[in-house]
């Protein structure tokens, strides 16, 4: 592929900017399809290099480029810029972070549901390690186990492992089919019947969600009996209802000789062979390790430094395995379902994800809404969609491959419809993928872009210039007389009591504390690696799950015995601190963020109900948050540690240079002469506060939040 590109570029046969064979083929098929449709309009030319840099950076790593990145990119030879950029962006951790958000939205992952945070971390790891999409899906559909320990199980726990809910989720999320409509009646606009729906739900019928008493451990396992009965509750007496045989309602494309399936199978065989080879090598290594370890242990034991603990260790290990096995029985039915869903011959599966990722990058799906594939909602450009879907399968369901190919295509790289186009022309150009629709950054990208533009990932003010004094209500342990404490009686210091009275009369004094007052703009990052670590107390918890109620109660009594010295009182204190602004990335926050948070205000979905997509409407609250919030205002403020300060206040101060610099930093483009003159006027005499005003306007303007 690389060779081909060099060849094409060298002989100058490449009139458009297609960097890969697949992307070029995709553009060609699109051209043919548009011709067949009788589209007269010409495609809008590709956007310029700086616009492409901004667009791809936001789409791939969810933030605008920094000045250094702009310089590096423009330093590359023009013919290689775009490809080099995409490869570089895909290698960044932020690429994984950003696409984890995409999958969290699609799969409706919530940090707050049981095992939800661990599941998000798991999906993150899967994307990072390039786990094929079919494998990821299979795991999510079929895994039983314990929340947080078997992270995949968080997926069905998100819907309480309810068979009917899971039937809706499986069809809508993985297949783009709203079979959930057939839960209560045959689908009004499609072929699915209630019987189809129940047959699908039956795959989940034996899965049980269990919550242990006291420890509140949540896990799933398989029961012997199914809970899904036919006919439905409202159609028959309970005595007439019987278990329904699980049935996958979609017929698989029988033709296994299609080229993409043959290529897919060849690829998988190759990978399997490789894995077997590697495992054989690894086993040999392990054997050597084991022998070495045994020798070392024997040596230590001879020297009396190692107790002979192997027997008890082995016993413990065996017990833990046994407990886990009996607790979390695997679901044969769901494994069967997962195989149907992810079968390369199931075109719904590949089309669904291709359509979603296409929409995410291009701004418009082949099928809209993206989860509503049905007979009377046929795709625009089915040939492009199927070409991409089949190639995605042939390339082993490789998500990075798919994202890269789409971004390499001309469709992705095009400019917007011309300014003078009326709404009908605009719609024609955009629906035929001949122009890029106006797209607002997703909320996380907007947040991180403001942090980037405002140099807020690091402090930009010297220590001490942001000192603030706050009145705070704090909790302090009550003073306990040592002698009485043993008897469990506490003596409270009189002075503390008075303090308590005073503080109770006051509202919690967080008014001066910016982090409290502006908490709707905080971003606290989750530690994904830690979420996936096995915890030491797992075994303990497993054991508890098999304890009797009496044993648990005895344990609870033991733990709730009153402990001396655990009582607190409140106190009001004055505290000064350096309020030097600094912000984290929002990409790894617990998600969805709380209601009213910046991310939610800018459209992060609740990820609860199906079909709840990102809301990209403008709202008054967005304006209020951007006008008056801490993030925008601190980003606009000029810190003496950032480069523009020197351009404004240094010995070689140069206002025009500073203006050009902030335009580049904030909007990734060079200002026009008119804009420079206008900026000088806005900045006025007090250059620091004037520059702050200019930056505030640039961060707030539509050009900042809408992609070029």
């Amino acid at each position: 592929m690389r060779l081909c590109l060099v060849f094409v570029t060298l002989i100058g046969l490449c009139p458009v900017f297609s960097l890969s064979a697949v992307a070029a083929e995709l553009d060609a098929i699109l051209g043919q399809e548009n011709k067949q449709l009788g589209v007269a309009a010409q495609p809008v030319p590709l956007t310029d290099d700086l616009s492409f840099l901004r667009r791809a950076s936001v789409d791939f790593i969810a933030r605008i480029p920094t000045n250094d990145e702009i310089q590096e990119y423009m330093g590359w030879p023009a013919s290689q810029r775009r490809e080099k950029l995409l490869n570089k962006l895909m290698a960044e951790d932020r690429f994984t972070d950003r696409w984890t958000i995409f999958f969290s939205d699609m799969l409706r992952l919530r940090s707050s549901s049981p095992g939800g945070s661990a599941l998000i971390a798991y999906v993150h790891k899967a994307i990072d390690e390039g786990m094929p999409y079919d494998e990821l899906s299979r795991r999510l559909i079929s895994t039983n186990g314990k929340a947080n320990v078997n992270p995949e199980v968080g997926f069905i726990l998100g819907d309480n492992a309810d068979p009917l809910a899971m039937a809706s989720v499986t069809s809508q999320v993985f297949l783009g089919v709203r079979m959930g409509c057939a839960e209560c009646h045959d689908h009004p606009f499609d072929v699915w019947t209630r019987h189809d729906f129940y047959g699908l739900a039956a795959y989940f019928g034996k899965t049980q969600r269990v919550e242990t008493r006291f420890t509140r451990v949540v896990y799933t396992t398989e029961a012997d009996q199914t809970s899904v009965l036919w006919p439905p509750e409202d159609e028959a007496e309970s005595k007439d209802r019987a278990p329904i045989t699980p049935r996958f309602p979609i017929a698989l494309d029988e033709d296994s000789s299609s080229s993409f399936i043959v290529r897919f199978e060849a690829l998988r065989r190759k990978l399997a062979d490789k894995a077997v080879r590697e495992k054989a090598e690894a086993d040999a290594d392990n054997l050597i390790d084991l022998v070495d370890l045994a020798a070392a242990k024997a040596e230590l034991r001879i020297r009396g430094e190692l107790p002979d603990a192997t027997t008890s260790e082995a016993k413990r290990d065996i017990r833990s395995i046994d407990i886990q096995k009996s607790l979390y029985r695997t679901s044969v039915l769901r494994e069967e379902l997962a195989a149907f869903v992810t079968d390369p011959r199931n075109r719904y599966f590949s089309r669904q994800i291709v359509n979603r990722i296409w929409k995410e990058l291009v701004g418009r799906g082949f099928v809209e809404p993206v989860d509503d594939f049905r007979q009377d909602n046929l795709p625009q450009h089915p040939e492009v969609m199927d070409y991409l879907a089949d190639e995605f399968v042939a390339h082993g369901f490789d998500l990075r491959w798919l994202i890269r190919e789409i971004a390499m295509s001309d469709v992705y790289g095009r400019g917007h419809a011309p300014d003078q186009a009326d709404s009908i022309e605009r719609e024609e150009l955009e629906s035929k993928f001949l122009a890029t629709p106006t797209r607002r950054m997703i909320s996380e990208a907007l947040y991180d872009s403001i942090v980037t533009a405002g140099h807020l990932f690091d402090v930009k003010h010297p220590a001490g210039v942001n000192t603030k004094v706050v009145q705070e209500t704090i909790r302090v342990p009550k003073k306990i007389d040592a002698a009485d404490a043993e008897g469990g009686v506490e003596k409270i210091n009189i002075a503390d009591l008075q303090e308590t009275t005073v503080s109770n009369a006051m509202p919690l004094s967080q008014s001066a504390d910016s982090s409290g007052r502006y908490s709707l703009e905080n971003a606290i990052e989750l530690d994904f690696a830690a979420l996936l670590e096995q915890k030491d107390d797992d075994l303990v918890i497993d054991r508890m799950a098999v304890m009797s109620a009496e044993e648990l109660e005895a344990q609870r009594m033991a733990m709730t015995r009153p402990r001396p010295g655990m009582d607190y009182t409140t106190k009001v204190v004055s505290r000064s601190y350096d309020d030097n602004p600094r912000f984290n990335s929002s990409l790894r926050m617990a998600s969805p963020a709380p209601a009213g948070h910046f991310l939610r205000v800018f459209g992060q979905p609740e990820r609860q109900q199906l079909g709840d997509f990102r809301d990209d409407n403008a709202s008054m609250r967005q304006a209020l948050m951007m006008f008056n919030g801490r993030l925008t205002n601190e980003a606009a403020r000029v810190g003496s540690l950032e480069p523009v300060h020197e351009m404004l206040m240094g010995k070689k101060a140069n206002l025009d240079k500073a203006i050009q610099f902030v335009y580049l930093e904030i909007l990734t483009r060079v200002p026009t002469k008119v804009e420079v003159a206008e900026s000088r006027e806005i900045i006025g005499r007090d250059v620091l506060s004037g520059m702050e005003d200019l930056r505030w306007v640039l961060l707030n303007c539509n050009e900042f939040r809408f992609l070029p």
Partner: protein, 419 residues
């Protein structure tokens, strides 16, 4: 965020402006008749006091004197002959001639999450569909009355707007009485400087959208205009208590809850349609009486002063006040002097908005364990609010999956409340 509600306001106002106006050949009165309303709205605003955790009905609105379930509180007489409430509400007892009680709510949900969902939305939680809370229903159906956000939740969260759209979500006020930082420029940005910023911003956005027939760019303008209008609105003063005399604060109790009640009053006076004031700590599995006594100390002056003030200014006529919880608590007092979850029967407090003062709807049995007469289902409360506000509870709205959902899950208004 209130854009679509505001757009709606414009069309409604324009529509109502000319009495002879017709739309598609129908007269205004035809249109109103077709919305399912059979009367003029009685109320314009709602103040909902949400007592999270499940407030004991026996220790508040439904005392059982002489029964073993009564517990530690004595009942006291009120300004309504024959009506007694718990002694934890001495001041409120003097306002009961303005208020009504429902003592026969027959709940079905005993877990906090499901019961809260049920009482706040009228629906039961169902799979992966979220039903909107009642505040969102109100602001989606009724036009805005002033500059302020139409739906405000104080000291806690409100249910989601879900398929009614982001514009019908609640605006949150964390600390009542304190200035919301998002409603004005930061302190270091003076008014003139802020105005200059906004002017420049408008110019930049105009230039960016120039000649582009792109609704995605022009929609942002409306939201900016709304924000600026709000930031410049004199009504914003309602949020801030720095000019409120200490005497007034003290009458409400000068607690977070008291400030919440006072803020609610100031907000409805400024046209806010729906205010939710949240209070927690009612899940009294142990030391129920200690907890309820201190709840009384906080709630009594706040609620009594609010009702009195609203009545004095005439606002009570068009403001419906409702205090409710997700369920009641067990008649039996447990070994920890607590009461546990009890959905089978519980009570709510209502006042204003056309409600006949002194009304008591239904009753529970002698121990406060089951409804004795006139059982009221949870969705009936929502239908009652709809009745007061002139909203058709049967109206259907579409979910994202194009499934029609009624505004209220099959409730019937308790019309006896309105005389």
């Amino acid at each position: 965020m209130w854009m679509s509600c505001k757009d709606y306001r414009v069309t409604r106002r324009q529509m109502l402006a000319g009495t002879g106006a017709t739309l598609l050949g129908m007269s205004v009165s035809d249109l109103l008749a077709n919305t399912g309303k059979d009367h003029k709205p009685l109320a314009e605003n709602v103040i909902l006091f949400w007592n999270g955790g499940g407030m004991s009905h026996i220790d508040t609105w439904d005392p059982k004197p002489g029964r073993p379930t009564q517990g530690e509180f004595e009942p006291i007489s009120t300004t309504v002959p024959g009506l007694q409430i718990s002694e934890i509400f001495p001041k409120l007892a003097k306002q009961m001639h303005h208020a009504a009680l429902i003592r026969s709510i027959a709940g079905t949900q005993g877990a906090h999450g499901r019961a809260t969902y049920n009482v706040q939305t009228s629906y039961l939680p169902a799979g992966n569909l979220i039903h909107p809370g009642f505040g969102s229903v109100v602001v989606s159906e009724l036009p805005n009355l002033g500059d302020l956000p139409a739906y405000i939740s104080i000291s806690g969260s409100a249910p989601r707007a879900s398929y009614l759209g982001q514009q019908c979500e609640a605006y949150y006020i964390a600390t009542p009485g304190m200035k919301d930082p998002y409603l004005s420029f930061p302190e270091r940005i003076a008014e003139t400087r802020g105005a200059k910023r906004l002017e420049t911003l408008a110019k930049f956005n105009r230039r960016f959208a120039a000649n582009k027939n792109d609704v995605r760019l022009t929609a942002g303008k409306t939201s900016i205009d709304d924000a600026v209008e709000l930031m410049r609105s004199p009504a914003l003063e309602a949020f801030e208590f720095s000019k409120v005399p200490q005497k007034v604060l003290d009458r409400y109790g000068d607690t977070t809850f008291g400030r919440g009640a006072l803020l609610a009053k100031r907000l409805v006076e400024n046209g806010v349609r729906f205010v939710q004031v949240n209070r927690g700590g009612f899940d009294t599995h142990s030391n129920n009486f200690e907890a309820m006594a201190s709840h009384g100390e906080v709630m009594d002056p706040a609620l009594a002063s609010l009702i009195e003030d609203l009545a004095d200014t005439g606002m009570l006529e068009k403001t419906l006040v409702l205090m409710v919880s997700e369920f009641g608590r067990t008649p039996r007092v447990n070994d920890n002097a607590g009461r546990d979850h009890w959905p089978s029967v519980f009570s709510c407090f209502m006042a204003g908005g056309g409600i006949q003062g002194g009304t008591v709807i239904g009753s529970s049995d002698q121990d406060g364990g089951e409804p004795k007469d006139r059982p009221v289902q949870v969705p009936d409360i929502h239908a009652t609010l709809c009745h007061a506000l002139g909203i058709d509870p049967e109206k259907e709205v579409m979910t994202p999956l194009k499934r029609p959902m009624k505004l209220v899950d099959d409730g019937t208004a308790v019309k006896e409340l309105f005389g």
